[in-house]
């Protein structure tokens, strides 16, 4: 039974031969078609749901020294409002005097409302096998409540504008032994790394394509990954030191991406290679 051929593959070759397409173009297209099929086969059955479910429990349960739930947490649209909140983040918060993304805002709520120390809560920022991250679960839950909502970021506060300007500048900051910047891979249209298409993050279309699907379940890791993780891992691959959680560069880049993606419809948590 080991000699059996790939029936689908053979069928494609026969069909292509009849049309006498040029070999190179055909090979290119069939590779991309196959990848598209791979992605399509995952459908809507996204393990990110497991994180969303856990996040919902964490959101509602009285926890921490103060034994309260997060239902009084203000994510920008008022206490306890999660519907559409992610679509309007990052934003300025008067109570902390900072521009915050969803994740750093969740940390503020957990520390101030529930009294859980920041270090304790952030001990597992990013989950790994047995070590589950409460932050990832909460993020997944809140993000899912903005599915189908358009991104709206008016940037009325000067600090929001400053965050955007910083992110935009950081995007082109070349450094490290490889001279990489975000722009090295994400400033041009129609490029790819290996077989991975690269979104052109300087355009609305490209930024929307990327931003509206993050956070995402990463198949390669079997984990739900957040935007803070995404940025930290990009800088790791740029060969730079480690991006600090909730740092001004993390918030700035997120603001730059979100603002560039403004008007896009959120579809996160997504599913990624």
């Amino acid at each position: 039974m080991t000699t059996c051929c790939a029936r689908r593959g053979l069928g494609a070759v026969l069909a292509g031969g009849a049309l006498l397409l040029t070999g190179l173009v055909q090979a290119e297209d069939s590779t991309q078609d196959a990848i598209a099929e791979y992605r399509a086969m995952f459908g809507d059955d996204n393990p990110a749901e497991l994180w969303q479910a856990r996040g919902e429990v964490l959101w509602r349960a009285p926890r921490g020294p103060k034994k309260v739930s997060l239902q009084a947490c203000d994510l920008g649209l008022g206490a306890g409002v999660i519907d559409g909140a992610y679509a309007q983040l990052p934003r300025w918060f008067d109570d902390t005097g900072q521009v915050q993304d969803l994740e750093s805002r969740l940390v503020s709520c957990v520390t101030t409302l529930q009294g859980i120390p920041r270090e304790q809560f952030l001990k597992v920022k990013f989950g790994d096998g047995d070590q589950q991250s409460d932050l990832e679960a909460l993020t997944a839950y809140v993000v899912a409540a903005s599915r189908g909502k358009p991104i709206v970021l008016p940037l009325r506060h000067p600090a929001e504008q400053a965050a955007y300007a910083l992110g935009k500048a950081v995007f082109r900051y070349r450094a490290g032994p490889h001279d990489f910047a975000c722009a090295t891979c994400h400033a041009d249209a129609g490029k790819r790394i290996r077989l991975q298409e690269l979104p052109q993050l300087t355009t609305a279309a490209g930024a929307r394509e990327a931003y509206t699907h993050w956070p995402a379940y990463r198949i390669s890791q079997g984990e739900l990954r957040t935007m803070e993780w995404r940025l930290q891992d990009c800088f790791r691959q740029q060969r730079l030191p480690q991006l600090k959680f909730g740092s001004e560069v993390a918030i700035g880049l997120t603001m730059f991406l979100a603002k560039t993606a403004e008007g896009g419809t959120l579809a996160a948590p997504g599913i990624k290679r």
Binding site: M1, C4, T31, L195, S220, R236
Partner: protein, 154 residues
């Protein structure tokens, strides 16, 4: 080491040192202490089928087997099998190039469709076999899945 496997090693290396070793563990060589079922410790298709008591299954186009031609990531390859063979009792999934070929078996009582969709780990480009046990003997169909690299590779 096959090129496909090496590529996967590189690909999985992206999560760092931990992942370099994770890669080698993607499809494990099982300790007998953990795994007592002979089909799940068999190294090749022949041995696995022998352990399952199946000899010389015939290929059948009545087994609809859907899997992508190319998998962006071997950690999860979607597969969908539906058997139109009458009296289908069991669907077995075997990944030929995995060190342990046997991935899963599904049995269907009366009233349940001879259909299953799941996701399996594929260590390197490989044929995936769907073996069907029916009241009238065993049949199979297979599909080649190429495992490739997607991202920055580190």
């Amino acid at each position: 080491m096959f090129p496909g496997r090496r590529r996967l090693l590189i690909q999985l290396g992206r999560t760092g040192l931990a992942a370099l070793t994770l890669a080698s563990g993607l499809v494990p060589r099982l300790a007998r202490a953990v795994e007592a079922r002979p089909a799940f410790t068999a190294a090749g298709i022949t041995d696995a089928l022998k352990a399952l008591g199946i000899a010389n299954p015939a290929q059948s186009e009545a087994i609809h087997f859907r899997a992508p031609d190319i998998a962006e990531n071997g950690a999860a390859v979607p597969v969908e099998v539906e058997s139109a063979l009458p009296g289908t009792r069991e669907i077995l999934l075997l990944v030929e190039k995995n060190p342990h070929v046997m991935s899963a078996s599904f049995s269907f009582p009366d009233g349940t469709d001879a259909y299953v969709a799941t996701r399996v780990k594929v260590a390197e480009s490989s044929l995936i076999h769907a073996v069907i046990r029916t009241d009238a003997g065993a049949f199979y169909n297979a599909k080649l899945v190429k495992v490739t690299l997607g991202g920055c590779g580190g």
